[in-house]
């Protein structure tokens, strides 16, 4: 029986490659962000983790479901249906999750799977960690 050699490169191979990249990104949303405290990413092979802490503008405060965000650092791969539960809209008294797709993701209630509306996000702070996979090098 041979010897299994564990190296960093061997372990990272599970993610598709051993390329590691870090940096920043700019989140966008329908009503805009008044401020972005942090928006960073790390990409290891095909795996992406993007963090954000940003405060929404007030917006019109209506019932439009335009609560999604965009500007992810990498587009999700074709079959990406990644769900991120590490999502908090401070002051919104309901568990929230995000479904990453393309360049962004929707912001949905975990209670009824309905996208949040603009009156539920206006002036509030989004803190989230999105994890997903990408085909981008």
């Amino acid at each position: 029986m041979g010897t299994i050699t564990r190296t960093l490169a061997n372990n990272l191979h599970h993610f598709g490659s051993n390329t590691v990249e870090t940096g920043t990104w700019t989140p966008t949303t329908n009503i805009g962000f008044a401020s972005v405290a942090e928006a960073k990413y790390i990409k290891i092979g095909k795996f992406v983790q993007a963090d954000v802490s940003a405060t929404y503008n007030a917006g019109p405060g209506d019932a439009s479901q335009a609560s999604s965000f965009g500007g992810l650092p990498f587009s999700g791969d074709n079959d990406c249906e990644s769900i991120s539960f590490n999502v908090l809209v401070e002051g919104h008294n309901e568990p929230v999750y995000s479904e990453v797709s393309g360049t962004g993701g929707s912001m949905k209630s975990r209670t009824d799977n309905v996208p949040l509306v603009r009156s539920q996000i206006g002036n509030r702070t989004l803190k989230a960690t999105f994890t997903y996979t990408t085909d981008i090098d």
Partner: protein
């Protein structure tokens, strides 16, 4: 010391989403690189508002090479397919 900022890497995915990296490089007086920081961005062929009205993405600020690649990739078929994704996922800009 000098600081330069430029798009040093870009790629279109199979749905026509442009992924690009802007890198800021700082060099010392001997032209040695002292630091590099990356900023990543993505841009689809267009966006929809909450009335699902489509707007083509503005790529006029990009290099001719990138503009040509996007214009070739962003066919009506690709735009329609991308619009369908945005509507289905309620990804309003």
């Amino acid at each position: 010391m000098a600081t330069t900022t430029a798009i040093d890497k870009w790629q279109l995915d199979s749905r026509g989403i442009l992924n690009y990296r802007t890198t800021t490089t700082v060099t010392d007086d001997d032209d040695n690189v002292t630091s590099q920081t990356h900023h990543r961005s993505t841009l689809g062929p267009g966006t929809i508002d909450d009335s699902e009205v489509w707007t083509d993405s503005d790529i006029s600020s990009f290099s001719t090479e990138i503009q040509n690649a996007c214009n070739a990739a962003w066919t009506t078929e690709v735009k329609n397919a991308y619009k369908t994704i945005l509507i289905n996922k309620k990804l309003y800009s």
